[in-house]
C-alpha cells in the first residue's frame, strides 16, 4: 500500500499536465497541495522575502510530516511550503464574510517570526545537545517542538495563521489535496479541474492507472 502511494506521488506531477484544461486552473493550483501548490502562485509586489533556513526547516519536516511520504515526497512537501510562504502577501484583502459589510484583511507577515523560530530551535538544539537539529534524532527534535506546539489546540487550522512554523508546515501539508488522497487511499483529487462525468464513480485506489 505504502509503495502504491509513493508511486502515486511520483506520478502526480505528470498527471497534472495531462489533465489541465483550457479555461481551468492547473490541478489544485494554489491549493495547499504539497506537490503542486506553490507553482501557480505569485506575489503582486516584487518583494523578495527572507528565505526560511532550509536545513532547519527540513529537519523540522522530518519530525512533523509522515514517514510514509518517503524522502522525495517530504522534499516536495517542503518545497511547496516554501513556495507558498514566499508568495504569501501580508495584510491582503480576504474573501468577504457573507453579508458582513466590513472588509477583512489578513494578518502581518508571519515569515520573520517563522525564521526567528527556526533560528531559535537550532540554537536551543546546539545548546542542549551540542549538535545541529538535522543531526539530532527525530524523537529529540520532537521533544524540542513539544513546548512551542503545546498550546495549539487540536486543529491544524490555516497555515498562514499558525503561531509556529512547525504547525504551519504540518497544516500546509495535511490541508492539501494530496494528503487527503493519501489518507483515503483514493484518487479524490479535490479541487482538480476535470469533467463532471465520473463524479458519481467511487474514486480509484491510489496508484491505479488514471
Amino acid at each position: 500500500m505504502a509503495e502504491s502511494r509513493r508511486t502515486f506521488l511520483k506520478q502526480s506531477a505528470a498527471t497534472v499536465a495531462a489533465v489541465s484544461l483550457t479555461g481551468c486552473a492547473p490541478e489544485a493550483a494554489g491549493a495547499r497541495a504539497a506537490e503542486t501548490g506553490g507553482d501557480a502562485l505569485s506575489r503582486a509586489d516584487d518583494a523578495t522575502p527572507v528565505p526560511l533556513p532550509a536545513e532547519t526547516l527540513r529537519a523540522v519536516a522530518e519530525a512533523v510530516l509522515p514517514d510514509e511520504l518517503g524522502e522525495d515526497g517530504r522534499e516536495r512537501a517542503v518545497r511547496a511550503f516554501e513556495r507558498w510562504s514566499e508568495a504569501l502577501e501580508p495584510v491582503a484583502e480576504l474573501s468577504h464574510a457573507y453579508l458582513v459589510p466590513e472588509i477583512r484583511y489578513s494578518g502581518p507577515d508571519p515569515r520573520p517570526g517563522w525564521v526567528a523560530q527556526l533560528d531559535g530551535i537550532e540554537k536551543e538544539c546546539e545548546s542542549r545537545h551540542g549538535v545541529s537539529l538535522s543531526d539530532l534524532g527525530v524523537s529529540g527534535r520532537r521533544e524540542l517542538l513539544v513546548r512551542p506546539l503545546a498550546d495549539t489546540g487540536p486543529d491544524l487550522g490555516a497555515p498562514e495563521n499558525a503561531d509556529h512554523v512547525a504547525l504551519a508546515l504540518a497544516a500546509h501539508f495535511f490541508g492539501s489535496a494530496i494528503a487527503m488522497d493519501i489518507c483515503y487511499g483514493r484518487s479524490i483529487r479535490r479541487e482538480l479541474c476535470r469533467s463532471i462525468e465520473g463524479a458519481e464513480d467511487e474514486p480509484a485506489p491510489l496508484g491505479a492507472a488514471p
Binding site: 479555461g23 481551468c24 486552473a25 492547473p26 489544485a28 493550483a29 494554489g30 491549493a31 501548490g37 501557480a40 502562485l41 519530525a63 512533523v64 509522515p66 514517514d67 510514509e68 507558498w84 504569501l88 491582503a92 484583502e93 480576504l94 474573501s95 468577504h96 457573507y98 453579508l99 458582513v100 459589510p101 489578513s106 520532537r142 513539544v146 506546539l149 495549539t152 487540536p154 486543529d155 491544524l156 490555516a158 498562514e160 504547525l167 504540518a170 495535511f174 490541508g175 494528503a179 493519501i182 489518507c183 483515503y184 483514493r186 479524490i188 483529487r189 479535490r190 479541487e191 482538480l192 479541474c193 476535470r194 469533467s195 463532471i196 462525468e197 463524479a199 458519481e200 467511487e202 474514486p203
Partner: protein, 543 residues
Amino acid sequence: MSRAASPAVGRAARRVVESDVCIIGGGITAAMVAERLAERTGASITVVEAGGRTVALGERSDTRARMLAYGENPWPNDHIRGQTGTGAMYNSMVVGGAAMHWGGAVPRFSPEDFRLRSLYGVASDWPISFDDIEPYYQEAEERIGVAGEQGPPEYDPRSKPYPMPPLPLSYSLERMREWTERTDIPFWTQPWARNTEPWQGRNVCRRCDTCFVCPTGAKYTPDFSFDRLLAGGRIDLVTRTLVRRLRLEPGSDRIAMAEAIDRDAPDEPVEFRAGTFVIASGHAWSSHLLLLSANPRFPNGLANRTGNVGRYMTAHWYLAGFIDLPMRLYPGMFVYNSLLSRRFASPGPLDRYVRHDLRLWESTVGRAPKIMDDDGKLLWGDEIMADWRARTESESTARIRAYYDLLPDRDSRLTLDPARANELGDPMPRIDYRPAQESVDLQEHTIETISGRFKELARAAGGSMRSIGQPSELWEHPGGGCRMGDDPATSVVDRWGRTHDHENLFVVGAPTIVSGGCANGTLTFCALSLMSAEEMENELPSA
C-alpha cells in the same frame, strides 16, 4: 444607444447622459432587465454602476489560486471605500454586484410563499401568485442557464423542464441519497446556475469546486450578460458612477433625472435623464437611494408618501447540524453540489405554522486531520495520518441545513444613519432587522420541528446527530424595503415594481419581496425583475 448632451447652462459643468431607460445598479437584477428590454424593445438603455469592472474571466484562475492558498478575495477591491452600511448587506459594488461571488443555488419559492395569510393566517399574501410568476421563473432560468433535476411535481412545480440536465451527484451524494430514500422525505439535486451543457457560449462545469470564483465561466455571473449586450451595442454601461439623488420634473411626480458622481472626476457631476428609471440596486441601496432623494414634495423620501420605504426588511434564518453516518464517503469529489428537499416548504395544512427546506452536503467536520488526539497528546507525522484514517475509514459526516422563513415586521427597517456617512457626506444605510412577533412566538416550535426531522434522517441512516447548532440569526438572501402590494397604504410598489407615487420609476427584485421564503432568493429576484421589465416594455419604443 444613449445620447450625451451638452452641459446645462448656468450651473457647474455637468455631463448629461440621455436615454429611454436608466437602470441604476449593475447586478444580476439589472442584467435581467437590461437583457429583456434590449431584446424586446428598441429603447436606448443606460446602466449606471457605482463600481468598476472586476477580474476578467481569463484572470480568474489566478485569483482562484490565491483564494485557495490564502483565503484572499478573488474579486479584489470590489467595494467602495466608505460606502458601507450597518446590518447584513453585501459589500460588492462592482459590475455584476454580489452575484460575482454567488454560489448559484437557484431554487424557486414554493406556491405557499405567495399566500401565507390565506393559507396559514400569518404575514401577508403577495399581490401575485406562483402561477403569475412561474413563466418568469422559467425565463430567468433560461437566461441564467440553470441545470436542475425535476423533483416531485407537488414540491417542485414547473410548466417546462429545466433548461439543462442536473449536475451529477458525487459518489458521496449518491450514497447519501440512497440513505434518504429510507425515509418519506424526498430529496433531489439542487438546481444550479452552472452549466452541464455549453450555454450561451459559456463552458460546461469542470467540477473544480471553487464556485465563489469560477475559472471556467460555467457559473453564470452578470458580467456575461453585460458583455454580450455591450458587444451588440444594445446598452451603455457607465461604471464607477454613483447615483446620489433622483430629482423630480418641476411641478410633477415624474422622475426627471438621476444625479450622480463619476468617481474618477468627482468635480464634474453627471445627470442621467430618461423616460423610465429603474432602481436595481439590491436590497439595501434601493431604499437608501429613495430615502436620500427626499425633497420638499416628498420630505420622507421618494415613493414614500405612506412611509413604507425601508420597512418590512426580510430574509430567512437557518438551523444546521452534522450527522455521523456509518458509511465511507469521499468528500472532495464535487463539494459544490448538494441534495435538496422542498417537502416541508409545501407542508399542506398545518396546526401550527412552520415551513422550511432541507439541504444535505458531504462534510469533513470531525474528520479533518488533527495535531492532538482527544486526550490532548500531540501527534506527529504518521500518527496524524493514522488518527485521520481511523476517523474516515468507516464513518463519514453529512451536513444538514434548513432555511426557515421569518415573517417580516413593519419595523424591520432600513433608515439613513446619522452617525455614518460616505466620503461625499451622504448618510449610509442602517438596517435593523427584526422578525414579527408571530415569528418570535413560533421560533421554539420551528426549531423543535426541524431538529426532529434532522434526527429522523440521522436514525434512518443508522447514524446519529453529531451536533445541532444554534439557530443562525444571519438574515440570508435579504430583501424588502420597497415591498409590493395592491394597496399603496401598505406597500411601495405595485405587482410590477412600479412605485405607487411615481409613474416612471420602478424598483426591481429583492427590495420588492413581501416575505423572504425558505429558499435562496436570487432566482425569485430575477423573475420579479423580468416581470417588471415586461410592464416597462408597453411604454417603450418597439424593437
